[in-house]
Amino acid sequence: MRVTLFDYGAGNLHSLAKALATVPGAEVRVQEDPLRALDTDVLVLPGVGAFGAAVARLAPGREAMRAALEQGLPCLGICLGMQLLFEGSDEGEGAGLGYFAGRVTRLATKRVPEIGWNQVEDERTLAGARLDTVYYAHSFVCRAAEASVVTGWTTHEQDRFPAAVRRGRVVGVQFHPEKSSTAGVRFVQTFLREVAP
């Protein structure tokens, strides 16, 4: 199974690549070209960088990527990668993939960024991996227009936001599974086994 990390150039993909590679048969590769990144069995949008810079890198392949997702390419978006699946962001200019309806806005809390471990409530993203306490490092969150795509929620101060979204074979998570210890690694492994077998 070819698993491709689309690299927007911000770096630090080591833990995520290693977490994905723990699944037998997963060949993990990193690709900076958004069109070439689609020549894969599983696409992973990692979670480092800023929205504006990332969509600029994504732009040449945006339409093709969106079409591939609609046609069933399994995709896991993490943190910023989840945000790229939405329409746009208050963090930066440019269009996201628009696979999920809604916009990315700043956390409506006193403490921004949210840094640390927080709980996921009502979590039902994957059948084989239930999440409890996971690691967050973010200032922005995805305001999903349709609550039906939200498969887990987290509350920071008074702001309740989607921890995870899923439609078909596309999953987005606001937390960092690759930094959420054993439970997070299990989530990544289960994603590959369940959603992208």
Partner: protein
């Protein structure tokens, strides 16, 4: 609701974990990757490498060490010590660090915090502040606590955050290594002054001290080092006491 975090700090030098022994210099205590993984397994919420290398040759091993660690550690990894430029921060992040703490270089050039936050995001910029009590205030020191500045710790913490720091690592020089407990007044003063997480550091001698840092100091995270490395207590024992105290913490499944 965010959990309170227990951060384990490892002093590294030349790619190894070292420990200061009074009057005898430094002793090699093990492989950083192995120790970091062990603390993750025990339930640590985060690992910090503090690079205490004295030379450029020793420092050169840090990035390789960070890369090896990031491939095997699945909790956040912070790196600090000798970080001077935006390029240093970029190198640490590319190697696999999630956060980088900046101390003396931020005092010398506060704009560095802003430049790093704009380039890499506030969530990876940690302002490391070493403070020492001076009358009814706390004075900021740099260069490993050797050089006094004119800065007031609480005001400086505020400025660091205004300039882009996403967290404050607050070390009491008076308490560092003393094992008499964190400086709770300092911790509280800074926690109340800023709207980003404050990591209390310096003085942990027991699990009860960690609990105090949260309950009385108002810290979001507490850094521990020696008491774990010396086997005086364990991550599990500290977390058990925190849980008993009604604090919200992460349990290891």
């Amino acid at each position: 609701m965010l959990t309170r975090r227990l951060v384990v700090c490892l002093d590294v030098k030349g790619g190894r974990v070292v420990k200061g022994v009074q009057f005898e210099g430094l002793r090699d205590v093990g492989d950083p990757v192995e120790l970091a993984r062990r603390y993750e397994a025990e339930g640590a919420d985060e690992v910090t490498f503090l690079d205490i290398s004295a030379s450029a040759e020793e420092r050169g091993t840090l990035w390789e060490l960070v890369r090896r660690t990031a491939e095997q550690l699945f909790i956040p990894l912070a790196v600090g010590g000798g970080v001077r430029t935006v390029e240093d921060v970029g190198r640490a992040l590319r190697a696999g660090a999630d956060k980088v703490s900046i101390n003396s270089a931020a005092v010398a050039n506060p704009a560095l915090l802003t430049a790093c936050a704009e380039r890499f995001g506030a969530q990876c910029v940690v302002a490391s502040i070493d403070a020492k009590r001076d009358g009814d205030r706390w004075r900021v020191y740099t260069h490993g606590g050797r050089k006094p500045t004119d800065l007031d710790a609480v005001a400086w913490a505020r400025e660091c955050v205004a300039r882009g720091a996403g967290e404050v690592l607050l070390t009491s020089i008076d308490r560092d290594g003393a094992r008499t407990g964190y400086d709770l007044a300092l911790t509280r003063a800074v926690s109340e002054a800023v709207a980003v997480p404050v990591i209390a550091s310096g003085g942990a001698g027991s699990a009860a001290h960690v609990r105090e840092a949260f309950q009385e100091g108002g810290a979001d995270a507490a850094l521990v080092a020696g008491i774990l490395h010396d086997g005086l207590t364990t991550v599990g024992a500290i977390k058990a006491l925190l849980r008993e105290g009604g604090l919200h913490i992460r349990s290891v499944a």
